[in-house]
Each structure stands twice: as C-alpha cells, then as structure tokens.
C-alpha cells in the first residue's frame, strides 16, 4: 500500500493505491510538493482507489471512486487511466465552476480559451503555446468562477497523443515529455510537464480575453482566422461544457458574461508556425 494525495488546486485527490509503479510514475509528472502522504488534518475533495482485483483470468487494476467503477487496466496503461480517472471525478461531480472542455493559457493576466473536440489539435496548440512562454492553466478543463467570472487554473501534465508527441519533441527538443504509453484506447499517450511558471501560478486566476476554436486541417494552404459571432461562440462553448445544462440559470449567466467579454475566432491551420504567428498578432 502506497497511499498518497495529490494537491492540484482547486481539487485535491486522496488515492488508495496498490501500485508502486503508479507512485513512481506520478513522481515524474508532478512536483514533489504536490504529492504527499495522506494527511488526516486535511479534507480531500475526491477519493480514488487503484486496486488489483480478480477479474476473469487475470488481476487487472481497477480504478474507481467508492463503488463507482471507472475502468480496468493492466499495469502498462495505469498512468493514463489514472489521469483520466481524476478528470472523470472532476467532470462528473464538481458543479462549483462552469467547466468547459478546453485548453486555457494566459499571458499578461489575459486568458486564451481553446474549446474543441478531440482531434482538432487543441492539445498540440496548447503545448506549443506553453513552450512559447504562455502560462498553462489547463489543457483539458476551463473552470469559470460562477461569481467573479475569473478563469481558475487546474494545472496538470499536458496529455499529448500519437503524432503530436513526435512533432512536439522535434519542434522543442528540450520539452519534457514523460510516461509515453502505447496501445491505449486513445492510441499512444504521453505527458508534457507544465512549465515552472505554470506550476508556480497554479492558484493565480486570469481574465478571459480570447476564445479560439482551433481546427487542424492538413489540406489548408493558408491560415484562416475568422471572427465568430457572440451567439455562435456561446452555443459552441455550451456544447463543449461538461455542466452547462446542470448549472441552468447560473450556467447561462456565467457563459453570457464570458462571451461578452471575449473576442472569439475560428482558427483553421495546417502549419503550426502560421498558427503561432497568427495568434501572436491577435493576442
């Protein structure tokens, strides 16, 4: 038993863990100060169990929260399944923030939000921007404070998939990509460590300034950056939200305020340099 706790603000997770491999892997992904032994003096937001159980012919790991089962996995894929498990807890149970499936980065106190479905190049673009000096708030979940409208960081390692792993490594040889796991349900998955300034600012909120809907399109000759109307931006953000419908009136008010305070664009690109220079001109 190597139980531990992860303190990634705004949510802490208490993990009942039976895998030494997971403990070692997470030590590579998170700063040492954020992974501690369980402290009985603290209240933890979520509890996850990572336990070996008999199932059919083998003894795979079961990742669950109480009697809510998340997934089974063999030891080789434990790291991605664990990371997804944490996302699953937050996406399912927290409604104190409006949560949008989006990457968020910050420069000069202003936040750039990139909501997009998988395959749009959101995580790649997010990793590139972080390498270019933007501060990472999240590569997965944009948390909007319902009262103040501020964007709340949820800093975790950036999940990269398939070709984007090799591309990122070739563009930024110094980038630290760890725990590459092949053969998962999403293909090969690896984690880029957040920059030092991103970890340091993990509790520092930002003001939403831009919403960019990225779309990678290999056939694209020229970068297109087209303005999106407030109404369209609102609907796209709502569609990408985990809990817009649950928050009802508060969700509507929160998203209205957000859409009114940002400039929204659709970014179609094939070449990352063009995308970067386009974004640099815009933001």
């Amino acid at each position: 038993m190597t139980d531990f706790a992860i303190h990634t603000a705004p949510f802490s997770v208490l993990v009942t863990n039976h895998s030494n491999k997971l403990t070692a892997a997470l030590a590579e992904l998170y700063p040492a100060t954020l992974i501690t032994r369980p402290n009985p003096q603290l209240i933890y937001d979520f509890c996850l169990q990572v336990q070996r159980k008999w199932s059919g012919w083998g003894r795979p790991f079961h990742v669950s929260s109480g009697d809510q089962h998340f997934r089974m996995t063999d030891s080789a894929q434990l790291v991605p399944v664990f990371e997804w498990g944490v996302n699953w807890c937050v996406a399912s149970y927290q409604h104190q923030f409006l949560a949008i499936h989006a990457a968020v980065l910050e420069r000069d106190g202003k936040a750039l939000i990139m909501p997009a479905p998988p395959g749009s190049g959101k995580s790649t673009l997010c990793a590139v921007l972080m390498q270019e000096g933007w501060r990472l708030l999240s590569d997965e979940m944009c948390l909007v404070d319902l009262t103040s409208g501020a964007i709340v960081p949820y800093v975790r390692p950036v999940s990269l998939k398939n070709q984007s792993l090799t591309l990122l490594q070739s563009w930024y040889p110094q980038a630290q990509i760890r725990q590459i796991t092949s053969g998962t349900t999403k293909g090969t998955v690896g984690y880029m460590l957040p920059s030092t300034q991103s970890w340091a600012g993990m509790q520092q909120t930002a003001i939403a300034a831009w919403v960019i809907f990225p779309q990678y399109n290999a056939a694209q000759q020229q970068l297109t950056l087209s303005k999106v109307s407030q109404a369209d931006a609102f609907m796209h953000l709502a569609n990408n939200s985990f809990n817009y419908a649950i928050l009802a009136e508060q969700g509507f008010n929160s998203l209205s305020r957000l859409t009114q305070q940002v400039d929204a664009y659709r970014l179609e690109y094939a070449c990352i340099e063009q995308a970067l220079s386009g974004l640099n001109k815009l933001c």
């Binding site: 208490l14 009985p40 003096q41 603290l42 209240i43 933890y44 937001d45 979520f46 509890c47 929260s65 109480g66 009697d67 809510q68 149970y93 927290q94 409604h95 104190q96 419908a245 649950i246 928050l247 009802a248 508060q250």
Partner: protein, 357 residues
C-alpha cells in the same frame, strides 16, 4: 461500516458538525456521493442553519450537489409535463411512486433527493395498454435476453424499464408494488382507493402512509442493498412525514389490511435505533403492530454498522432471504437453475461459427 459517517450525520447533524475531524469529512463526502445524498446533506445543513459551521470545502461540494439535484427536479417536471397528455383521458388511476411522488407533493424527503427513473403504478389490467401507448410516445424497452424479459413479465411487479429514445428518461411501469412470484400476497387496492389527486395533473400519488409502507416493503421484503443507507434515511423522513400528517394510526391500520405489518414493524425498530425516531417509537408502542423480528433487524443493522466481514456476511444472508421472500420456492428453484443455464447457452452460442453478436 459502509456509511458510518453518513448515518452519524443524519442521526444528529448538529453533533456531527461539531465533532467531525477533517478525515471524517473526507469519508463523509465520499459516502454522500456514493449514496447520492450530497444535495440532501446540504439541504439538512441549510434548514438546521449549520452551513456557517462546516468547512468551506464541505459547503462547496454540498452546493455542487444541490445544483445537480435542482436540475434533476426541473427535468422531472418537464418529463411529467410531456407525459400528462398520455394519462389525461385515462379512466383508470395512474399513480406516481417513490421519488416522483415525493417531489410532486414537495415532501421534506424529496429535497435534494436524486432520481434515476420515474415510477408509475397502474392497475394490472391496464399495464399492457399503458405500455403500448408509451411506445407511441417514444419509449422503448432496452435490449435484454428473452429469459430476463420473461422474468420481468411473469414474476416481477413491473414491465421491463422503458426508455425514451431521445431524452433518455426511464419509466418503471408498475402494476404492483411487490413481485407476483412471491408466496406473499399484498393487496394494493388501498393504494388506489386512498390515492390523492395532484391539482392540475392527471397523475395521483399514494397517501403518505402508503408511501412509507411501499418504502418499507421495498427494503424489508427484497434483496437489494446497494443504496441501503439512502433507503433508511428516506424511511426516516417519510415516517416523520406520516406522523406530521397525523396518519400514523391510519398507516398501522393499512399495514394490517395489506398484510405487510412485519415490514412496518421492522422499519420502525430500525429507525428507532438508528435515528431515535419518535414516530417509530410511538408506533412500536401501539398494540396494533406485531413485535419486530430481531434477526431481520439485526441483519440490516449489521449491513449498515458492522465490520467489513460481518457486513459482507449479512449481505449474503440478506440476498438469500430477499429472494426466498420475493419468489415462491418452486419459482426460486427454477430461476436458480434456469438463469445460469440460459447464460451458459448464450455463451456457447457465441462460440458457434458464423455467430454475429
């Protein structure tokens, strides 16, 4: 001690809030989430004016749960509105049961309570008719094996769950409150005779006394244990409501009429022990109620409060006991053999060449 912190909280919220350590709060939040009681504990904190005394984190998670529960309530109303025209012209009674019935009357038990489906009770001879009409309203039965389907139709007290093809809403359409395969015969005519109309709606709801009886029958005559803590907390609130509406004597009289006195008596015993419930203690004093069955009550209490090992053992015994109550022995023997045989048969069929699953 599956839900020890939860039970301690609901038995005595102020004392729990005063004494709970951070470690206990962590377990409490986890258990509340598991039993779907997050919004419920938040509601209790609100009504007892204890919100200022709990840690901020507990408050935030409570608020989160309350938002989710509120959304579910809106969805319930909207779904019931969709169903109104279907039942509007019916010349037979259509009763909401369980959560939907609690909510329709805004009973205390319904605040912050989560729903997984809408339970509706119609007279047995109307079941097929109502089901067919629901088909035209976009509801369908999920995929299941023919054995399971037959089980529902012949031995249970409801149609297989009906799900709306677009909205995903699930309706459990009942013709009884207890499986027809049981040797125990429960007369549910009083549920229909004493049903209360909801102003402006085609639906009716059972009298509060019957809602309590139904919940007690569900808990004590069946084998389900996955939401045990929530079930006893529901019962506790319902019995207080019965007393509040001065239906305690009516409830005892109805329990005798429906021959479900042992369930009611055991429920009162358990509620008196767990929550010091005054109404339960009053009911147990009445000569109309038979004495509780100590073994049954102890099994339930062991599942809730016992150590991991004893709770596990109690659950196994409860499982066997529940099945032996809800099925006549002939049916039980047949089911115990036929169900595994049917699974095995399907497994072999999958091995056959050319099989498409």
């Amino acid at each position: 001690m599956l839900s020890s912190q939860l039970l301690a909280f609901f038995a005595s919220p102020a004392a729990f809030v005063r004494q709970a350590t951070p470690q206990q709060w962590t377990i409490f939040l986890q258990q509340a989430r598991q039993q779907g009681l997050t919004a419920r504990f938040y509601h209790v904190l609100q009504t007892k004016q204890l919100l200022d005394q709990v840690p901020q984190q507990v408050k935030l998670h409570g608020e989160s749960g309350a938002r989710y529960a509120l959304k579910q309530q809106h969805s319930l109303y909207s779904e019931l509105q969709q169903l109104e025209p279907l039942f509007a012209g019916a010349d037979y009674p259509c009763l909401l049961l369980k959560g939907a019935a609690y909510r329709a009357q805004a009973l205390v038990v319904s605040f912050g309570r989560l729903f997984s489906d809408i339970d509706i009770l119609v007279p047995a001879n109307q079941l097929r008719h109502v089901r067919d009409r629901l088909f035209f309203y976009g509801f369908r039965e999920g995929e299941m094996t023919s054995y399971d389907r037959d089980y529902y139709l012949n031995w249970s007290h409801q149609n297989p769950p009906l799900q709306h093809y677009q909205r995903g809403t699930v309706i459990d359409l009942h013709h009884h409150i207890y499986p027809t395969a049981s040797a125990r015969s429960i007369d549910i005519t009083p549920l229909f005779t004493h049903a209360v109309s909801i102003p402006g709606s085609a639906f009716k709801v059972p009298a509060t006394a019957h809602l309590f009886i139904h919940a007690a029958v569900h808990l004590f005559y069946q084998e389900e244990t996955h939401k045990l803590t929530k079930d006893v907390i529901d019962l506790n609130d319902l019995l207080q409501e019965v007393q509040h509406q001065q239906q305690l004597d009516f409830m005892l009289e109805q329990a005798a009429l429906m021959s479900v006195q042992s369930a009611v008596s055991n429920a009162c015993r358990v509620l008196s022990i767990l929550f010091d419930n005054g109404a339960a203690q009053a009911a147990l004093q009445r000569s109309a109620l038979p004495r509780p069955q100590p073994l049954v009550c102890n099994l339930l209490l062991t599942m809730l409060q016992g150590s991991a090992g004893s709770a596990w053992l109690a659950r196994q015994l409860w499982f066997v006991r529940g099945h032996s109550l809800k099925m006549r022995w002939q049916v039980l023997v047949y089911h115990s053999l036929a169900k595994p045989a049917s699974s095995l048969q399907r497994w072999f069929r999958r091995l056959l060449p050319g099989h498409k699953s």
